[in-house]
């Protein structure tokens, strides 16, 4: 029994890593794993937390980066909104 638990946990670990590659948040990961791999969110969450404990630096950096990305996205959206309101500026934007 222990083996199957260990391998199950390993699998969840693997799946979480895939999610990390996709830049997902913990919640997104829980949802994805539940949906696509039939893994209870609580399990995903637990393994994620444990992974976080074991790899503190990584997760800290990961989180920071995501936050930065979210900010970037928001800024970009804001800019795009502005651009869509002003046709002239579109040319500049497209030049990017």
């Amino acid at each position: 029994m222990a083996n199957s638990s260990a391998s199950y946990i390993h699998m969840v670990h693997h799946l979480i890593e895939e999610c990390l590659v996709f830049n997902m948040s913990k919640e997104e990961c829980m949802e994805a794993l539940s949906k696509h791999a039939d893994i209870k969110p609580i399990i995903t969450s637990t393994v994620w937390s444990e992974l976080e404990k074991e790899n503190k630096e990584f997760f800290e950096a990961y989180t920071k980066r995501r936050e930065g990305q979210v900010t970037e996205m928001e800024a970009k959206n804001r800019i795009q909104n502005m651009l869509s309101k002003s046709p002239k500026r579109e040319t500049e934007e497209t030049k990017q």
Partner: protein, 426 residues
């Protein structure tokens, strides 16, 4: 002095002029070596007696005395000079160096053990310098002033040649990590490392190379990360680019390369102290030390490869009979080895870029913060990736994070009312 000239003349006519000039330069520099010793120098044109005070080559005994006393072990500033003369004075040198080195070795913290004619002998180099008085005032000046005047050497300025062994490098990295890569200051690093042999300059240049190396690594990761973006693109785009080689994908104007760029940055940072030892050691020409077989290093950013096959097969018949990861990294793989090149010289990095110039170029161009077009991966790609893991549990982990403690997980789950996994109820 006068006595010397004739002796030398008998030996080598060609060098007469030099010798004479030398001698005339600083007669007072002549040591009180016995006349008899001069005879030894006759055959060595390169040994320029006189200029050097007290260090006159001809006298072995003298050398030792000098070595014992006067030289500031500046660490081979003069190794340069020595090198050029080493070979010439091989004969004499060997005999001299024996004694000289014995004394000097203790002074310098040179890494290498070879002494004869080896430029690495920074400590002994210094002594050697003293021993082999150079035929011109430069040598004299060099010796006289401080060894720091490397510029006076024939070969221009060259500092002590520090041999960055893996161990030394590891200590360096530890120190840098401790201080924080961006905040690491050579003087602090030096303090932390606590190695006498290193000068601040050594550290500074090494640090520079190190930072540049890291940047390259991150660029690689970003590039690799770009693949996952690409995958999503293909997943969403339905493989419109079937025949386009992956390398071109980025140039299609798909900006997402960078979105993932940062994704692996933490990877690198985190990995640094421990995980990336192999990468670190891969760095300055240490490929030999820890030659990570292609799979492992790319593994860290090789997420794309494992799931890739499924995508590629769907969207691209890129497979050249390649196993997961290989096709993908045909180019990047060699690149991951590049860490060595940058240190050894300039060409390699360029070569690397040439090889992959489609990608690296685009990656680096967009290395800055970039609009995250695919911040949210497509459902299909996620599904595919997950499915892949479920079907092929033997695939390597894309990030290679430290696995969680089983007991810890089980305990936690039990606390939440889940006695066992996999759960008996779906």
């Amino acid at each position: 002095m006068l006595a010397v000239s004739p002796l030398r003349n008998t030996g080598n006519d060609g060098k007469q002029g030099e010798k004479e000039n030398n001698f005339s330069i600083s007669p007072e520099e002549f040591p009180d070596f016995g006349e008899g010793n001069l005879l030894e120098s006759i055959d060595f044109d390169d040994l320029f007696v006189g200029i050097n005070d007290g260090d006159v080559l001809p006298d072995l005994e003298m050398d030792q005395e000098i070595l014992a006393g006067d030289f500031p072990v500046s660490g081979g500033e003069e190794s340069e000079m020595n090198n050029s003369f080493m070979s010439e004075k091989a004969e004499v040198d060997s005999s001299r160096s024996q004694e000289g080195e014995d004394k000097v070795l203790g002074l310098g913290c040179v890494n290498s053990t070879s002494n004869k004619g080896d430029e690495i002998m920074s400590g002994s180099d210094e002594a050697e310098t003293k021993l082999k008085s150079l035929p011109n005032k430069e040598a004299y000046k060099t010796r006289k002033s401080s060894a720091a005047q490397a510029k006076n050497n024939n070969q221009g300025k060259r500092k002590v040649k520090v041999d960055w062994t893996p161990d030394l490098h590891r200590r360096f990295v530890q120190a840098v990590e401790q201080l924080g890569v961006d905040k690491a200051v050579p003087s602090r690093i030096l303090e932390i490392m606590g190695i006498d042999c290193l000068t601040r300059h050594n550290i500074a240049s090494h640090l520079q190379k190190y930072r540049s190396h890291r940047k390259h690594l991150l660029a690689r990761e970003a590039e690799a990360a770009g693949w996952s973006q690409k995958r999503q693109m293909y997943g969403g785009g339905g493989g419109g680019k079937r025949d386009i080689s992956p390398w071109l994908a980025p140039t299609m104007g798909f900006p997402p390369i960078t979105p993932m760029h940062h994704q692996f940055r933490p990877l690198h940072v985190w990995g640094h102290p421990s995980m990336d030892q192999s990468l670190m050691h891969m760095w300055p020409k240490y490929l030999a030390h820890s030659p990570p077989p292609p799979p492992p290093p790319p593994t860290t950013w090789a997420h794309p490869p494992p799931p890739d096959p499924s995508f590629w097969h769907h969207h691209q018949r890129v497979s050249n009979g390649l196993t997961p990861g290989t096709p993908y990294f045909q180019h990047p793989l060699p690149l991951t080895r590049f860490p060595a090149p940058p240190v050894t010289g300039i060409p390699p990095p360029h070569a690397m870029y040439k090889v992959d110039h489609g990608i690296p170029a685009t990656v680096t161009e967009q290395s800055g913060p970039h609009p995250l077009v695919d911040f949210h991966p497509s459902k299909e790609s996620i599904d595919a990736a997950i499915g892949d893991v479920l079907l092929k549990p033997w695939l390597p982990l894309p990030l290679g994070l430290k696995p969680p403690s089983i007991d810890s997980v089980m305990g936690e789950l039990q606390r939440h009312g889940i006695p066992e996994i996999p759960p008996s109820l779906a």
